[in-house]
């Protein structure tokens, strides 16, 4: 391993772009989580699952919780955004979606550089994450 005393090593432009997008997205999702949680706790919007029942349900295995509380799977929660508890999924979804959004910015960058291995890796990663996020696997399971 060599140590070289030249100008300070810098990250590649696509790496910087990824970092900047991730920075704003991650903090926006955390802010969104806090705001929606306050709305939920303040009772501004009625929850889908009553507060007093939640602490009973969280002791059960997930399949029982889903069955008893009639919880929508996959993206079914979108229909219940007027409910305080499901409103919180906006921030959680953005948190989970940031990596996919950031990876999408890598595709044109690697295409422009004609960096074929990393272009293929980026496309495959977007497809895998999108498949996981789509809910097709989970709901169809």
């Amino acid at each position: 391993m060599k140590s070289v005393s030249i100008t300070k090593a810098k990250a590649s432009p696509e790496q910087i772009r990824y970092a900047n997008l991730l920075f704003w997205g991650a903090w926006l999702s955390i802010l969104l989580m806090i705001v929606t949680y306050v709305i939920y706790l303040a009772g501004i919007l009625d929850p889908y699952v009553p507060m007093d029942k939640v602490q009973t349900y969280w002791q059960l295995p997930v399949h029982e919780y889903v069955e008893r509380a009639n919880i929508p799977l996959g993206w079914g929660w979108v229909k219940f955004l007027n409910r305080g508890d499901f409103l919180n999924f906006l921030g959680l979804t953005l948190l989970g979606g940031m990596t996919i959004i950031c990876f999408c910015t890598l595709i044109p960058a690697y295409l422009k550089k004609k960096d074929w291995p990393f272009l293929i890796i980026s496309i495959c990663e977007v497809l895998i994450l999108a498949l996981a996020a789509s809910g097709i696997l989970a709901v169809g399971h």
Binding site: Q15, A26, F86, F89, L92, G96, P117, A132, L137
Partner: protein, 318 residues
């Protein structure tokens, strides 16, 4: 002043554990077959979780471990939540931490996209598999496996001796083809350090196992990423730690989506966990700047051993 602060944190941590263990409503094994009747108001557990995760966030930073690896065994062992929800939230906790740290690491070139992307592709695909496996297996089997894994992690933290700058004489073919090499700026010496990887194929293979375990237990996987990147593949410690943290943002995303889509995330417990741990991490980073608390690391190893044995016994029904 630092010593007094750390002493207080130690006392706080121990007090929380003692209190949690003594509190009759806590043990998940007390959950009856029929619907249990909660004896606490709805706000009690989220509030306790917020405070607990805040302390956990401080401890995690001081001990140099990720939030997820502490969150899952401790919360599943001492709180009344089912393991399914703890794993789902554990992944979101690890994901939030990784997403918050990622930009800074990428900008400073301490996380490297060329090193992260190939291993992330393997780990994230396998994390989906792990998540399905974890949700399909009976809870007691997952609990036993979790207990064994936590004990092994504690041993790994005790005996693993990472190398600051491993010597890589010759880069292998795969590493070279994927361009897994680069420079980073070493602040302490004011020099650019060149690095490259070797044993890349074996490293990529190990990320299959790491991905499956991350998805199955919701632990995050920094504890495994760093030794593989540093000791096996020869990445300098700073690059291994930075890339590992960034890598979690990709691996945990895929598994977190599976848990999210299967209903394993309950906002009432998930949000205070995420926010508490992140706030704790910020405070932890500030304390870390003025102290090198080795003792905290040993306490964490002890707590992990204890939590691992408890998970194992719980899984065995003892």
């Amino acid at each position: 002043m630092c010593a007094r602060l750390l002493q207080r944190i130690n006392v706080m941590l121990l007090s929380v554990f003692v209190w949690l263990y003594a509190c009759p409503g806590f043990a998940a094994e007390q959950v009856a077959e029929t619907l249990p009747n909660p004896d606490k108001p709805w706000w009690f557990w989220p509030l306790v979780l917020l405070v607990f995760c805040f302390i956990l966030g401080i401890i995690a930073v001081l001990a140099g471990v990720g939030g997820g690896v502490l969150y899952v065994p401790l919360v599943s062992g001492f709180f009344p939540f089912h393991l399914d929800f703890v794993r789902g939230t554990g992944l979101l906790v690890a994901l939030a931490g990784a997403l918050a740290a990622g930009p800074g690491l990428l900008r400073r070139n301490l996380a490297d996209l060329r090193l992260a992307l190939p291993v992330a592709l393997i780990a994230s695909a396998c994390a989906i598999l792990g998540a399905f496996l974890g949700l399909a297996l009976p809870t007691n089997i997952v609990q036993i496996c979790l207990g064994v894994t936590i004990i092994l992690i504690a041993l790994l933290l005790t005996f693993s001796k990472n190398v600051e700058r491993p010597e890589v004489k010759k880069q292998d073919f795969i590493g070279k083809a994927l361009g897994m090499s680069g420079f980073y700026f070493e602040e302490s010496t004011g020099e650019n350090v060149e690095w490259k990887t070797h044993r890349t194929l074996l490293g990529l293979f190990l990320f299959i196992i790491i991905g499956i375990m991350a998805g199955m237990f919701g632990l995050g996987a920094g504890w495994a990423n760093v030794p593989v990147l540093n000791l096996l593949m020869g990445a300098p410690l700073k690059i291994a730690v930075g890339t590992s943290k960034f890598l979690l943002s990709i691996t945990d995303t895929s598994a977190a989506w599976v848990y999210l889509n299967k209903g394993c995330v309950i906002p009432l417990m998930a949000i205070p966990s995420i926010v508490g741990l992140m706030l704790g991490s910020f405070v932890g980073v500030r304390i870390l700047a003025v102290a090198k608390p080795k003792i905290i690391r040993y306490i964490v190893i002890g707590v992990l051993l204890f939590a691992g044995v408890k998970a194992l016994l719980k899984g065995l029904g003892i």
